[in-house]
Symmetry: C2
Subunit: 210 residues, 2 copies
């Protein structure tokens, strides 16, 4: 079931701009990202869904001209927290108390220890930790798109600083780590369409210690 969908998907190289992903499919893809498990439930990233044509033209320039940025229905921009702060972690604690009903010493103690551990670290270390969590979300987005029979192209080949500038992310304490245009494959012009998937064989990828 899942693996059938993972075998179906591929990093689409050419999208058909005349085909539009329905909003309900887009909503379910974003919901999968929102449900993605992250370290201590921090969800230390946000997703910017760029549909605007003019802004996507600018993003394409910052993305070395890759046409999926403008030929897709939307570009999902995964932007990780640039650092952990007391305020951000307190926000997660407050939400947890609200959803699960009331404060507890165990919960407060857990997030107190997390703040004591994370906040003094340098920003780069914290950003890298947040970026890893964002990649769990990226993986879920690719998976969800496959379930919706929506094509998607994971990309790291772009200028992150320019993306942050175009989308005004610096002021929000966010840094772009990966993008995922979602749309529909073009009938012609996609050299990767139909190519066999390349993966290391299981015995070169997994070691079992029995």
């Amino acid at each position: 079931m899942l693996n059938e969908r993972l075998n179906w998907r591929y990093a689409t190289k050419k999208m058909d701009p005349s085909k539009t992903v329905p909003q309900d499919k887009l909503d379910r893809i974003l919901e999968a990202v929102r449900l993605a498990p992250t370290s201590s439930g921090l969800q230390p990233f946000e997703v910017i869904v760029v549909k605007n044509a003019a802004i996507r033209e600018k993003l394409k320039e910052a993305g070395f001209g890759q046409t999926q940025i403008t030929d897709s229905t939307a570009v999902l921009v995964f932007a990780a927290w640039d650092n952990y702060t007391d305020a951000r972690i307190d926000g997660v604690l407050a939400l947890t108390e609200k959803v699960r009903g009331g404060a507890s010493e165990t919960l407060t103690g857990y997030y107190d220890r997390l703040k004591a551990s994370y906040v003094p670290r340098d920003a780069d270390t914290n950003f890298e930790h947040a970026a890893r969590q964002a990649y769990i979300g990226l993986g879920l987005a690719m998976t969800a798109a496959a379930f919706e029979e929506v094509d998607a192209t994971p990309m790291e080949g772009f200028d992150p600083a320019q993306f942050d500038e175009i989308l005004g992310l610096r002021a929000r304490g966010l840094k772009t780590v990966a993008i995922l245009p979602v749309g529909y494959r073009a009938e012609e012009g996609d050299w990767l369409k139909g190519a066999p998937k390349v993966r290391r064989p299981m015995n070169e990828f997994v070691t079992v210690v029995e």
Copy 2:
């Protein structure tokens, strides 16, 4: 479908050691990880599946005593490449040529540029890039486990250097980044079982630029 499974799963806090995950379920979970999309198809990580009881006792000590490490059926250890090298990238190129049939200038040029870009970078930068890809795999493993109705506990709370030492990963150029015990929840003693899932509301997680 997918989101129903993502809502079902949770980071299981107490597992029942008397229940064993069937091998076919474990195989499908590992296949999902193998199929996980990664940057330039590098798959820059491996998975160590630890079933051995004595070794898992040692891992539990290096994992601050967390009982899921020994009460699960197996611990999936996600170990990222410690660096990118010409040999590793050439291996991906060779596999791609083998699977897709023959060399091409386009393909060779692509991986030549990748080597020129990645290999001169410092090892930490390359390891962090590889670790992000491993987290895509971690996300897929958690998702696949949910499809198999298998419980799982993503963990970063362990001593990675000790894990690498116990599993002999240094000599293989691998560094543990995250672990995922897979098994079955205990009937009693899991404080998180049944608790409402905590996620930021969509409007605090997603920004739409129309």
